[in-house]
């Protein structure tokens, strides 16, 4: 190799790393302030923090998430929850929100969490079960900061850590209800479930859906696939296509990688059932209903706990009963009244304990 060629290579690398850092993995957490909310669409402006403006000290929350705030799934559900709480508390002067998105890469996410903690944020949320072990290391270094992570119920109390909250969604509950609805609406009696990784709330959702559909229609066939990735949009689309070729007319799936699968459902005239966030906007003729995660109760309790001097060591669960899970119908699609009644009965059964969403009606 000629002299200087290595230098050129290195320059190229450094330059491109810089660019890619601008794109997907910001090293500096992005500070944002939400100015107003118009018809549910947050309008945001980017600002750099200006401490001298702050009069009464706002509650400062930072969140690190795997995908984007517009993923129509896991990340968006938490971000919108934060926005709702912020509005309730009286706007950006009372509660500041900073976020880092697109953090599929765990070491990047961990350094963002550490950055936020050292910048003095009150509550730093590591929004992904993959961030748990990083948080376990970081939390003891910042005993004054509250951390939260999910989906999990482990606050690392066993390690003597007291400043970590944990949260989980009982996704199987909505999965069951949507399974009932899908089985009710399916003409072929075949349903396809597009799973990402066989773990966490995705697995709970898939298993709940399968149970609900087979309880509603014992002759139904529920096909399930996993792609082994939360982000592989292309493989998820192929999985959806395979379900449709195998006769499925009702599809569902979990994670931010389902966008391609929803498109496949749309192109083939199949119906889609969403989870984590209301996915109607992605395909208004295709999405029948979605299980929506409403984290506002969890966020408010974490803030109240911290203000009362409890920095962590509490775990939360979203359920139908506590209002953390909601089934949101697409107003643009006619769902038969008896189907809605069956869904309502399923939800009531789950709430009063007569239905186990992973096993079916309790004898």
């Amino acid at each position: 190799m000629k002299k200087g060629s290595m230098l050129v290579s290195l320059l190229v690398i450094v330059f491109t790393l810089l660019l890619s850092a601008c794109g997907s993995t910001p090293e500096q957490p992005v500070e944002i302030e939400v100015t107003r909310i118009v018809a549910g669409t947050p309008e945001v402006i980017m600002i750099t923090p200006t401490p001298e403006v702050v009069e009464a000290k706002p509650f400062r929350v930072a969140i690190v998430m795997p995908s984007s705030i517009t993923d129509a799934a896991f990340s968006q559900s938490m971000y919108e929850g934060l926005l709702a709480v912020q509005e309730e508390m009286g706007g950006p002067e009372k509660m500041e929100i900073a976020y880092s998105e697109g953090m599929f890469n765990v070491p990047d996410a961990a350094s963002a969490v550490r950055d936020y903690a050292s910048q003095g944020f009150d509550l730093v949320i590591a929004h992904g079960s993959q961030y748990g072990s990083s948080l376990q290391q970081i939390a003891p270094e910042f005993p004054e900061t509250s951390f939260a992570w999910g989906t999990s119920l482990d606050t690392f109390q066993a390690d003597g850590i007291t400043n970590v909250f944990a949260y989980q969604a009982e996704a199987q509950e909505g999965g069951y209800a949507l399974g009932v609805l899908a089985a009710f609406m399916s003409k072929s009696g075949i349903m396809g479930v597009c799973g990402p990784v066989e773990a966490g709330d995705a697995k709970l959702y898939v298993d709940g859906f399968v149970t609900g559909a087979t309880v509603q229609n014992p002759n139904a066939t529920v096909q399930k696939t996993y792609t082994g990735s939360f982000s592989d949009v292309a493989l998820m689309a192929s999985a959806a296509e395979t379900h449709i070729q195998a006769g499925a007319d009702m599809l569902t799936g979990s994670s931010q990688s389902v966008v391609g699968a929803i498109g496949i459902a749309k192109d083939n005239g199949a119906y889609w059932f969403g989870t984590q966030w209301d996915q109607t906007a992605l395909a208004p003729e295709t999405v029948v209903a979605s299980q929506v995660y409403d984290w506002t109760g969890v966020i408010k309790d974490m803030i109240a706990s911290r203000q009362a001097g409890v920095l962590g060591n509490k775990s939360y669960t979203l359920t139908f009963k506590n209002g953390g899970l909601v089934i949101q119908y697409n107003p643009g699609i006619d769902v038969p009244a008896d189907a809605k009644a069956a869904v309502d009965a399923a939800i009531a059964g789950i709430m009063d304990g007569t239905i186990d969403p992973l096993k079916g009606p309790v004898q």
Partner: protein
Amino acid sequence: MAELFTLPVLFGIIYSGIRLATPYLYASIGESFSQASGVLNLGVDGIMLMGAYTGFYVGMTSGSLWLGLLAAAITGLLMGLLMAVISVTLKAEQGISGIGLQLFGLGLSTLLFKLTMGGAISISGFPPVRIPLLGNIPYIGEAFFNHNLLVYFAYLLVPIANFVLNKTTLGLKIRAAGQNPQAADTLGVNITLIRYLTVSMGGLMAGIAGASLSIALINLFQENITSGMGFIAVALVYFGGWKPTGVLLGSLLFSFVNAFQLWIQVKGINIPSDFAVMMPYVLTIFALAFAVKRVSAPAALTKIFERGEN
């Protein structure tokens, strides 16, 4: 297991396999030209991402998928040119600069996606075109002759690439540049020009590969939509022994196994999903381990050409 060996499932696997192979075919046939002339371009994945983004964005805003495809091809061509400048003129280490190009494409496409779209939007991509008569044959028609135009083009490309590489003077010059550039140079072959040409063409094809995802197969753009497909495409070039027909075989094998594992899961065959998902990759590694011994790589692959050396 018996439910897997029925006609609908078998032809379903063929249908999905043919579709899944499309982006790999474009990308790896382009890369074969580049590698045949001695340049390893590891940046294919980044070029695919930029092609997928521009193809989608231009297609969406202009309303013309063909314009989108053209934009993706031009973007790919420009990124290929950039790779050529870095690796041929500036003589940078090919492996490292390729990785740089990949990161560049990933970062820039994500940034542009955030700035211009924000979230996933889907469009109607190239519709399936049923070939008259052949398309009406039961099972076979559906599996082979009811695809969108970009799928057909990808397969047409194989004989064309084969012809150019093996039966034309240009093909001979390309192979000479990859086997023995010093000798070719003394015979009057302009090595720099040949390598610029192949690397740019490889970029153009990678751009189209990306667009085949975003405006023909999945019909949306999402950050890192390729999930590393470009690296598989580079591996498929080795697998195919730097021959378009070999690349075709490799792409089909990888895609059929991928389609097969999805059907295994759909049919509820009791194999852990993690294992099923691994199958195509494990197979590629195995095949690579044997295939590379079978044929020899272009002798000057990854070597910088210096006039008058040796």
